[in-house]
């Protein structure tokens, strides 16, 4: 059985500075796999309670002494988590590298801002519109490019991200370089008004994140998620087994884009104003760093990664200027030492050891006597 093989590989000692963490995670994962339903629900309730009390000032004074903790929880932390869960569908689940994810965030944000200010649409309608527009642009971008080799896709998506930003910069209809100001806030829900206080936005963000997580988990466990895993591991084999790979890749792209659009909508509701420079390439790279750092393909890992990448620069503001430099270095180190991320899924870890699970292997790579690939053959 596939699962047994993976487990036996886990027990082999690894020369890796992270292996102690890895062991603790494995213990927790084993417990989770055999946990009863009520135990699982206890954990879910615990997570919700944790999310509800997280903005408490007592926690905030430690977590974010320099800035308002609840605001920090909405942006960057919450927004990053939402974006990372969306990008995880594309990168982690389907194994496609998208370097222009921020474009969908921008499309969602601009929809809320444009239709809210020009046509005074209801906020929720503009969010839905933003999600739909993001999905449509995901399909428009994906349809011609998803037939290509994976690394071409990376560059095309990067170009797309820039096209969206430059277009927003040059198009006077949506404010050009000045952007759109006075973006309307969401209307009150149950008497809770969305004004300057960040708390309502935080709870709105929590609802959005929870919905997206549930959606993402259900997808992963469905036929669609299995098809994505098959595509990620070996696209040709998946196609031969009757998986319509192009269709599923396009679906991954569209769903990732929708989550990105949702994040943009929620962000715009609080931000009051939106300008092209809110959506630079470096934000795409940051979200990618979050997904990879946490453990692409594994939701708890991705959330942890996004949390860390959103929180650390806020907590250590003295180093905030250096945060992008540090991201860059961490990405390189991570790929060299622990490519599967902090909290990887077992399957993903096994894939990375076998050299599958990401656009195939590099060229000019001949397995020598020391590489792991040939060691496996010898066993």
């Amino acid at each position: 059985m596939k699962g047994d093989e993976v487990t036996s590989e886990e027990t082999t000692p690894r020369r890796n500075p992270f292996s102690a963490i890895g062991h603790g995670i494995d213990v927790m994962r084993d417990w989770w796999e055999h946990a009863k339903v009520w135990q699982r629900y206890l954990v879910y309730i615990g997570a919700v309670v944790f999310a509800l009390i997280l903005p408490a000032p007592a926690i905030g004074s430690f977590m974010s002494p320099g800035a308002d903790w609840t605001s920090v929880l909405v942006y960057p932390i919450g927004t990053y988590i939402l974006l990372a869960v969306g990008l995880n569908v594309v990168v982690g689940q389907a194994g496609l590298l998208d370097l222009g994810f921020v474009a969908f965030f921008a499309i969602g944000g601009y929809n809320v801002a444009y239709f809210g200010t020009q046509y005074h649409w209801n906020y929720w309608a503009t969010v839905v519109m933003g999600i739909a527009m993001a999905a449509v642009s995901g399909v428009i971008l994906g349809a011609p490019t998803l037939r290509l080799r994976g690394d071409y896709l990376a560059i095309v998506t990067l170009g797309f991200g820039e096209i969206v930003r430059i277009t927003a910069n040059n198009a006077d209809v949506i404010g050009g370089a000045r952007g759109i100001t006075n973006v309307p806030h969401p209307p009150p829900i149950f008497g809770t008004k969305f004004l300057l206080d960040p708390a309502p936005y935080y709870y709105l963000m929590i609802v959005a994140i929870a919905l997206v997580i549930i959606f993402s988990v259900r997808l992963q466990k469905s036929r669609v998620g299995r098809a994505w895993a098959a595509i990620r591991e070996d696209e040709d084999a998946a196609e031969l087994m009757g998986v319509p790979t192009f269709k599923f890749k396009l679906l991954a792209f569209a769903i990732g884009a929708m989550i990105g659009g949702l994040a943009g909508g929620v962000y715009a509701g609080k931000a009051v104003f939106i300008e092209p420079n809110t959506f630079p390439f470096i934000l795409s790279a940051t979200i990618l760093a979050a997904v990879v750092l946490g453990g692409s393909g594994n939701l708890p890992g991705v959330i942890l990664g996004a949390f860390l990448i959103g929180w650390l620069p806020e907590r250590f503001r003295d180093f905030a200027e250096y945060r992008i430099l540090i991201f860059g270095g961490v990405l390189v180190l991570m790929m060299a030492l622990r490519p599967e991320g902090l909290l990887p899924s077992r399957r993903r870890k096994a894939e990375l050891r076998e050299g599958t699970g990401g656009m195939g292997a590099m060229g000019a790579e001949v397995a020598g006597p020391t590489t792991e690939a040939s060691a496996e053959v010898n066993q």
Partner: protein, 321 residues
Amino acid sequence: MLQDFLNQILPSTVGGLVIGSIYALVALGYTMVYGVLRLINFAHSEIFMIGTFASLVLLTAIAPAAPATFGIAMIGTLLLCMVVSAIASGGAAVLLETVAYRPLRKRGATKLAALISAIGASIFLQELFALEIIPWLTDKPGRNQASAPRFVPRDELFHIGNAAVRLDHVIVIIAAVLVMIALDQTVSKTRIGRGIRATAQDPEAAVLMGVSIDNIVRVTFLLGGAMAGVAGALYLMEIENTVFNVGFVLGIKAFTAAVLGGIGNLRGALLGGIVLGLIENWGAIFLGSQWKDVIAFTVLVIVLMFRPTGILGESLQRARA
């Protein structure tokens, strides 16, 4: 509209050829690494950036106090710039390969991992220059542009219709073409070039024939990096300022040029660079120069849709000697 176009077509063509030559030089690095490793060297744009700064440091150091005139001193300075930038960029490319790619290659990691590692290296280098090196060079904190002194005069040599062709235009195009011919000859005639082609064609057979893959990969990065360095020197001479993210958009365009010509194909890179330079300059006549980048990226998407193998096809593998 048509009158505008006719008035501007010739000057745009000159501009397109100049910037296209620089795209072509940078594209060579993408194409060579792709040919050998089947990998987009995402950090190549930063190798180009390092080339511009190497020239900048040199020019600031020897600070030609005399007004820029054409002569032996100018040609000597230009050659020196190109050599210094080529060495700096080539060295940086080899270092990049050693740090960001070699450990992954040895472990048999996936392309996705290598690409992410390259993005990390790219971000790291950009920020290193933005936060440390440029403030140190310009003596000003913050994310500054850095300007270079002029050493090539902007003399108009001759006119084609209403387009003035200046000395610096001619120098960029001639230098780029000469360097590319040298590279093409190196790859097709020398022993190391044969090694590169063999590795691109079939790495396993190349190993069996006694080619050292590690050396070939290193030389590939060195040559590609040196080309980007020369491009950096020429860019600095022409544009006269540089910034930490100068390579970002230029890198995507150079990659577009490589794909347009047929990735893995050295002569394709030249053709792709020139064609892209012309398309974006001609397109800018109609749409305005703020849309140049969008035009270039759209070209990339269209090429990939309709002819992903590029104009000349992919052929570092095919022996052409």
